[in-house]
């Protein structure tokens, strides 16, 4: 766990809209205790060998039927199969909070991606899950959401990812398939020595019925739990990531893409805490907005004392296609030691008229030129993804943005 003394120098700039964004104190004390205390109540998904997934339900939970079951890993290669695996959540007696722990055992290198499909089956859906990447393990994980109800809903996901020594995780989270949802995604990552965590986040929503959804959420907000009610109705999606590099030479590479249209609101917070030397991290957050969409980017890279030879980069690029969009960007860097490389930056603008003209002057229509430039803008956020199956899925989603 994180030694809180190491974080005592860290200061986050105040932010008016920080209603949901937990303070460091909250993150470390509250949530960590939560995960420790509730460990017994987690489903445990052990990837026990190359071809089998062992699912242990070690609680007497009303919606868990088997004590233990086995599913062949190869079945998890398609989202369809994994959706059926998640049917356990569809039980009539389900609770609002669904928990599981996925652990990749020591030395396991999973060549096929694991799809985690998080269904929204009721108006306020909470998920809490952990990923335990044990020593020298490797996995590709693709998290996606599925909305199974017609009503507007709030979809809240919390995950806790532990990266043990020399482990490597390529994690893609994508929430493009849910509309009329206020989506909040909280992620707390702990990286040990020499571990590598590649995080890609895609939010490609097109909330055509957002106004409808907003009204419904407002009407329902009285019964929403406190932690979530703050987000109603202003936030349509919130991404809140805290990453602690607690081992030497730990590596964290984050790429995020928000494509938002219509009257939507995105809030994006990502803090990286370098607490040991020789670590590397990079943040690339790209936002592309159209119509009257809004976005906030607020991120911090903290390099603690004695964290020499750290190499860290933070970049936020925003592209606007409409005069009605609103973009707020607040990149932050706090460095408490010498002998580090650290950069940060932010750009906000419109599509370059000269680039559009060049493409059009060769016979490409205005709409197609604009689409090509959008694709060019987002392409950089796919560098981390090496798995071809996942890459194809993401490409299909990005293509859909313009249709």
């Amino acid at each position: 766990m994180v030694d809180l003394n190491l974080l005592k120098d860290s200061k986050q700039l105040p932010w008016k809209s920080f209603s949901l964004h937990s303070s460091l104190k909250d993150v470390c004390l509250k949530n960590f205790k939560t995960i420790d205390k509730k460990d017994k109540e987690f489903f445990k998904i052990h990837l026990s060998d190359k071809c089998k997934v062992e699912i242990k339900y070690n609680i007497s939970n009303p919606f868990t039927k088997p004590e233990e079951s086995f599913t062949e890993l190869k079945k998890l290669r398609s989202k369809k199969d994994f959706a059926s695996f998640n049917n356990i959540f569809d039980d009539k007696q389900q609770k609002s909070e669904l928990c599981f722990l996925l652990s990749v055992k020591e030395g396991q290198k999973l060549s096929h991606p694991i799809y985690i499909n998080l269904p929204a089956t009721q108006e306020y859906q909470n998920f809490k899950y952990g990923i335990d990447m044990q020593k020298n393990s490797f996995a590709n994980i693709y998290e996606t959401y599925q909305k199974n109800i017609k009503k507007a809903c709030i979809h809240n996901v919390n995950s806790f990812i532990s990266m043990q020594e020399n482990s490597c995780l390529k994690f893609v989270s994508e929430n493009s398939k849910i509309s009329a949802v206020t989506s909040t995604r909280h992620m707390y990552n702990y990286l040990h020595k020499n571990s590598q965590f590649y995080l890609n986040y895609y939010s490609v929503e097109n909330l055509s019925n957002y106004d409808n959804a907003k009204n419904k959420l407002e009407a329902q907000s009285s019964s929403v739990p406190d932690s979530v009610s703050d987000s109603v109705p202003e936030i349509s999606s919130l991404y809140n990531v805290h990453t602690f590099l607690i081992g030497e030479a730990a590596n964290f590479f984050e790429q995020a893409l928000i494509l938002a249209k219509n009257k939507t609101n995105r809030q994006h917070y990502s803090n990286i805490y370098h607490l040991k030397p020789y670590g590397q991290s990079s943040q690339l957050h790209k936002t592309m907005l159209d119509d009257s969409a809004k976005s906030i980017f607020n991120a911090l890279i903290f390099i603690g004392s004695n964290c020499h030879k750290v190499n860290s980069h933070q970049l936020n690029n925003n592209l606007s296609f409409s005069k009605k969009t609103k973009i707020i960007s607040q990149p932050q860097l706090q460095v408490k030691t010498d002998d580090v490389k650290a950069t940060h930056g932010s750009t906000t603008g419109q599509v370059q008229a000269e680039e559009l003209y060049y493409l059009q002057s060769r016979g490409i229509s205005f709409a197609k030129s604009k689409q090509l430039l959008k694709q060019a803008f987002v392409k950089e956020t796919q560098d981390n993804i090496t798995n071809l199956i996942i890459k194809k899925d993401i490409n299909n989603i990005l293509k859909g943005y313009d249709e």
Binding site: S361, S369, A376
Partner: protein, 249 residues
């Protein structure tokens, strides 16, 4: 093929062209010369509908297959699809789109406009690589982003490659010779000469005589203060090379 009549144009309320007239027939090669800031590049950009420039009066009539079109009423992509091409002085760099993807898109757009089936990827690649070899462009340029990291010479050769690929009827070459070494100039001049025919017309903007030695123009015009102040044949370019513009302005 192209008839410009009394053209007045400006950028940010600054008048650039002040009553320009020009007539280009099929198969002719015209050259525009003039001191810096005379409006040479502006003219080629106006002819291809650059968004920064506005035309206050005049007309630009373009005739293709006996059909007359007013370029001022067409979008930039329509102008291109109708056989007009501008090889730019400073082609932009666009990261994230590979040259091949770009060339594929422009070929597709033109094929669609002409109502013919687009060339498949494999054949298109062969055609492009043949042209690249002719222009001495490295074969890996297809995988690189558009003009990204290209040298000045490579950018110009990439422009010529697009011209050879699209086979336009009316071509504007905006200072194609600037930034080119002697070998690059020879390669490009040879390609243009081979590309010339009795139906195809060129409007070449240049500061230097050296490219005109290789591609002999039929007409040379001197642009100053937004209009042509002198027109003549190739000998005019030679005289300007020797004496500059002081005897004209």
């Amino acid at each position: 093929m192209l008839k410009i009549t009394d053209l007045h144009a400006s950028i940010d309320d600054k008048k650039i062209l002040t009553g320009l007239n020009l007539n280009i027939n099929p198969g002719e090669l015209h050259c525009i010369m003039g001191p810096n800031g005379a409006g040479k590049s502006t003219l080629s950009k106006i002819l291809t509908k650059h968004p920064d420039y506005s035309v206050s009066s005049g007309s630009i009539e373009y005739t293709l297959n006996f059909e007359k079109n007013n370029l001022l009423n067409m979008d930039a992509n329509e102008i291109s699809l109708n056989g007009v091409f501008l090889a730019m002085q400073h082609p932009v760099e666009i990261g994230g789109i590979s040259n091949f993807q770009f060339l594929k898109e422009i070929t597709k757009s033109h094929c669609l406009h002409q109502g013919v089936a687009a060339t498949n990827d494999e054949d298109l690649k062969k055609i492009i690589l043949n042209l690249a070899e002719k222009l001495k462009l490295p074969s890996d340029f297809l995988d690189r982003s558009i003009n990204d990291g290209f040298s000045g010479g490579e950018k110009k050769r990439n422009e010529v490659l697009q011209m050879l690929l699209l086979k336009p009827n009316l071509i504007f070459l905006d200072e194609l010779d600037s930034g080119l070494d002697i070998d690059g100039l020879n390669i490009i001049a040879k390609s243009i000469k081979e590309f010339q025919n009795s139906e195809r017309s060129f409007l070449l903007v240049t500061h230097y005589h050296r490219i005109l030695e290789k591609i002999k123009p039929d007409f040379v015009h001197v642009l100053y203060n937004g209009k042509f102040i002198k027109s003549g044949d190739y000998s005019l370019a030679k005289k300007i090379e020797d004496q500059g513009y002081s005897w004209l302005i």
